[in-house]
Symmetry: C2
Subunit: 302 residues, 2 copies
């Protein structure tokens, strides 16, 4: 590295001794650096012509690259310095299906408006995979639809939402707009989420005592909320999901929410992170932002 530095100075100065002066080194030291480089590359870098020193073509090529290397190197130093001092950098966030699709974008939009120098990278997965990634350290922050149980994971409640049963009009009519009992839910075909989904876990937990899970007529088992909703719209069956999601489909007359008085299911969304990891300013700011503003930002939907 110091050798490369010396090389650059010799290239610019076309002189070993002038380069030495610039670097506050002795001429022999610079000489040895250059010959060491030449030995390593197996090529002459300078034509030593008596009093004049001229770079060879190999030196030309090396200088171009060395320049880029040094630029990169002090660019990264200032970048890292900035990262410590200001709310800048890239936030690598994980979101389970509903948060990533319907919650995170809203928060990110508002956050970006306040901190324009922060960029995002979002990982989407089911609830479990996101919590695992936060736990293993692949992700610094995650927003999930279930409370993480792993020790060492902080879980800030940032949002509450109702879970409701949504149906296409063709299925809703069988209940004629009257309240629906839990048992009646076995009368319609279902679209459910795959294992690992927080939504599914919440629903299964809520209806566990009614013992209807095994009786459900499951027509489709899908990977994410959007797919489930599209299946419902296509008349495949009914599903459960957060009202935050249903909000997005408000315009659709063929979609309706069933009134199931016994299913008073509130759903919690958590911001989660390892308590033992140091958060850099941007991550710190994002956590604070979520705690302070998420509820207000998303309140219209609940």
């Amino acid at each position: 590295m110091r050798k490369l530095e010396a090389f650059c100075r010799v290239y610019e100065q076309r002189s070993f001794s002038k380069a030495a002066k610039e670097l506050f080194l002795s001429q022999p030291t610079v000489s040895s650096h250059i010959s060491s480089l030449e030995a390593e590359l197996g090529v002459l870098l300078f034509d030593r012509l008596g009093r004049t020193t001229l770079p060879t073509e190999a030196a030309e090529v090396l200088y171009d690259s060395a320049h880029v290397v040094f630029e990169k190197l002090d660019e990264v130093k200032t970048k890292i310095q900035l990262l410590q001092d200001k709310v800048v950098g890239e936030l690598h966030l994980g979101g389970s299906t509903i948060p990533a699709t319907y919650i995170l974008p809203v928060i990110m939009g508002a956050f970006a408006a306040q901190y324009p120098e922060v960029s995002f990278q979002i990982d989407v997965g089911n609830c479990k995979s996101i919590m695992d990634k936060v736990d293993s350290g692949d992700l610094l922050l995650g927003i999930v639809g279930a409370k993480p149980h792993a020790p060492g994971l902080e879980a800030d409640l940032i949002l509450e939402d109702d879970v409701v049963v949504v149906a296409h009009s063709c299925h809703a009519t069988s209940f004629a707009n009257t309240p629906v009992s839990i048992q009646d839910l076995a009368l319609v075909p279902w679209v459910i989420r795959k294992k690992g989904s927080g939504t599914r876990a919440a629903f299964e937990n809520a209806v566990e005592s009614y013992n209807i899970l095994s009786q459900l007529d499951v027509r489709a088992c899908v990977d994410n909320t959007a797919t489930a909703m599209e299946c419902v719209l296509a008349g495949l069956g009914v599903t459960v999901t957060s009202t935050a999601v249903v909000e997005r489909y408000k315009g659709r007359a063929d979609l309706c929410v069933l009134d199931v008085p016994d299913l008073r299911l509130k759903r919690q969304f958590y911001l989660t992170y390892r308590t033992d990891r140091r958060l850099f300013p941007a991550a710190e700011a994002f956590v604070r932002f979520c705690r302070e503003r998420a509820r207000a930002l998303l309140s219209n939907g609940t």
Copy 2:
């Protein structure tokens, strides 16, 4: 540098000891490298959480740049190796006005067809400035219209050409297509090249004994051949130049070459370079190519 290498391995392995194994170093050595880097950057690069090691955001940023640095570094090694072994790389050539405009392109075209991995960078200047740059080492190779006198400069004759007087028809008619004496040249207005031009030097040298230089009616003193020719076409005056140039204007009926029997001026073009500099394969090949093929490539014009 070794520290950065160690950092990259720790980042990838998420473990100091695994990184140490990969690098055939001891774990304490890797530890000390990382802490040395952390001290230099003033930032924690890894969260040491008991048995698990996780990169901080600063590490993320550093890793991205380190990658680029290492890539550049071994890219340059292979590039330089190639430069020694094959006819590849960039040839930085200098050409005085006529060579750069009318000779070099032809040679470069034929050379590039044979050696497609060679690229060119061309410096244009007057004869003297190009010779100076070759002499000072700014340029490895130059093609000039006069024989360089500096000691240590090789000058390979690669082409000979006739220098002729070109005139617009309006000036030619005053001689009624008859042979023109040197003295008669003082009867028409002139466009001449600036000092430093090889063409100008050759002409001045040829007519020196006739003592007409001071009598010439100079209407314009221009920087390059193309400008001179356009001036002639515009009826500003006559000029002298190589037949290689006149060839390019063959289609113009309003342009003609005066028959000056006493001016039997041959012009030489030389490829010049310092004898004491090592030429890399591509430069070597170019020199050989010029010596062997330039005359044939450009013979149609003489």
